[in-house]
């Protein structure tokens, strides 16, 4: 019996796995990958809510749709930034991004 809670638990776990990844990965691209998990979790939520609770409307559906598009755009820019960092630092480790501090 799949209820909305199943989806919510799944997405919540996915979200926090993403968070965990964000907090622990050292490679900036790996961090971005973790972020994809977080965004994906939210997307899943929208779809599930729409389907399970408000099937008569399409708001969640469209939100997911737009969200996917926006995440793609974000990812593109983020990756560009990371490549730019790589050009400057010759590596992609997040702990090297510490010139600006205090």
């Amino acid at each position: 019996m799949i209820t909305i809670n199943c989806f919510l638990i799944l997405s919540a776990l996915m979200l926090f796995i993403g968070v965990y990844g964000f907090l622990t990965r050292r490679n900036t691209l790996a961090i971005l990958i973790s972020i994809e998990l977080m965004l994906n979790a939210a997307d899943l939520n929208f779809a599930a809510f729409n389907r399970m609770l408000f099937p008569e409307g399409q708001e969640g559906y469209f939100f997911t749709l737009f969200s996917v598009a926006i995440s793609a755009a974000e990812t593109a820019i983020a990756i560009a930034v990371m490549i730019n960092v790589y050009r400057n630092l010759k590596n992609n480790f997040v702990e090297n991004l510490d010139k600006l501090k205090w």
Partner: protein
């Protein structure tokens, strides 16, 4: 299908028109990479266009609230006013950017600079006028993503790259949480139209409360409120100075206003709850930022902490969501904008002329550049809230609003913090006037654009407070939960 409702969005459309004209201008007038002086034309186009558009917006201002696309787009006169305020700020940023854009390595990129800036501005427009969380989210992203490119604008610069990376990473993290929060709102309300949500909001619903927190964290990231602020200092320091200026007022201000609108519109039944949240966020923001600012040496980083602290004051206007608070907030934003951009314009010109960015480099600045340091002093005093400069009025009014909303002790803590902020603003004044230096910044003359920008800032700082019409103008449009 009624396309005439696009006309209700004249603000956004006119800005889009400006973008398109600039796009074309960039393409045709100065597109050639060999052209020697492309920049003049572009800024010559951009600034007047933006001004014209501002005037157009204000003249064409709807008399009352307008909606379009089935409440997807909501606008009110106050929103147009805020957009106009943001426009003025952007104009000043463009004016001060000119000297930086004229550098050889940037000349070729200047079209992109104007475009990206205007794209973010457009994003803020949509964010302000959103009537649906989707529009809000898209607007927010449109305001943040091109900003990353702006932060990374001098991409050969390692610090700029680092700043951009930190910015985009934090932005993505926060937008992930925000998106999740919005999904929870959807799950509990069944709709994301602002107009329909307040009716189904319930202060005892924990999911909605969690969503409220996630929303505040997402927007708090844009406003850079503690504890969502940590990117701010690094990004401000690393970003090109003009971009820092833009980030510190325009993007912050728009987000604060949007937060006010959404809190009062959507989260209206939870007013007690978000008051509690903002109460602590404001206290922590102001205090922590002030404490950090005290011992900064890089002036941009210093201004970053100052900006965080100012954000705390700005959000004070949102307490209780009163109409008076809104007026105070917009007024504060306006005053803060002119003063802060004035400071950044000077930081920028100093950086462009001498490459110096440390507070200690400003030792003896008054001896070599009295006029600039005088304007800088005016702006700093305004930021610190010293009369007769506008900052005093805005601080007084925002505290008054906070007091009226029923938070005297919050106001008191904020007031005590103004003393600390005065301390660090005076540190710069001290550096300029009192300290002596063996290697002061050499005497230089600033370019015409910067001069115009500084003149605007100085006029604003001096007159925006004394002339009560400005406040009254804002007040005539403001709205909120209570009068």
């Amino acid at each position: 299908m009624d396309y005439s409702q696009f006309l209700n969005m004249s603000d956004e459309l006119s800005l889009l028109a400006v973008v398109v004209i600039l796009f074309m201008a960039d393409l045709f007038c100065c597109g050639s990479e060999n052209s020697t002086k492309p920049s003049k034309a572009l800024s010559l186009i951009a600034v007047p266009l933006l001004l014209v558009q501002t005037v157009y917006m204000l003249v064409n201002m709807p008399a009352d609230c307008v909606t379009a696309f089935g409440d997807m787009y909501l606008s009110a006169p106050m929103m147009t006013v805020v957009k106009a305020v943001l426009n003025i700020g952007t104009v000043i940023v463009f004016l001060m950017a000119n000297v930086w854009m004229n550098r050889e390595e940037n000349q070729v990129k200047q079209g992109e600079f104007y475009l990206l800036t205007l794209f973010t501005l457009l994003g803020m427009y949509f964010m302000i006028s959103s009537g649906h969380f989707l529009m809000f989210f898209i607007g927010l992203e449109l305001a943040s993503i091109p900003m990353t490119a702006l932060v990374a604008f001098t991409k050969k610069n390692q610090e700029s790259a680092e700043a951009a990376a930190k910015y985009i990473l934090t932005a993505l993290f926060s937008s992930g949480l925000l998106l999740y929060g919005i999904s929870l709102l959807y799950g509990t309300c069944g709709t994301l139209y602002f107009n329909d949500m307040a009716a189904v909001m319930d202060a005892s619903n924990w999911v909605q409360l969690a969503a409220l927190v996630l929303f505040i964290s997402g927007i708090g990231f844009k406003i850079s409120l503690v504890p969502f602020h940590l990117w701010t200092a690094d990004t401000y320091e690393g970003a090109p100075t003009t971009v820092t200026g833009y980030l510190s007022v325009i993007s912050k201000g728009a987000a604060a206003f949007v937060m006010f609108v959404i809190l009062t519109k959507v989260f209206e039944p939870m007013v007690e709850n978000w008051n509690l949240l903002l109460f602590w966020i404001i206290i922590v923001s102001i205090t922590v930022a002030n404490i950090f600012a005290v011992r900064q040496n890089n002036i941009k980083r210093f201004m970053a902490f100052s900006a965080i602290s100012q954000a705390g004051y700005l959000v004070l206007g949102a307490m209780g969501g009163t109409a008076q608070g809104m007026t105070a907030m917009v007024y504060y934003l306006f005053v803060y904008m002119v003063a802060n951009l004035g400071v950044f314009a000077i930081i920028n010109i100093v950086e462009q002329r001498s490459g110096k960015l440390n507070i200690s480099d400003y030792d003896g600045f008054y001896a070599t550049n009295p006029k600039l340091s005088f304007i800088m002093t005016l702006c700093l005093f305004s930021l610190a809230g010293i009369p007769p400069f506008a900052g005093f009025f805005s601080k007084f009014f925002i505290f008054m609003a906070g007091f009226k909303a029923g938070f005297p002790w919050l106001v008191f803590i904020a007031l005590v913090n103004t003393v600390i902020s005065l301390y660090y603003y005076l540190l710069i004044v001290k550096a300029m006037y009192i300290k002596k230096s063996d290697t002061p910044i050499a005497r230089f003359s600033s370019d015409g654009y910067t001069q115009i920008g500084l003149a605007l800032c100085a006029i604003g700082v001096v007159f925006a407070g004394i002339l009560s019409q400005i406040y009254q103008y804002f007040d005539s449009f403001s709205f909120g939960l209570m009068p």
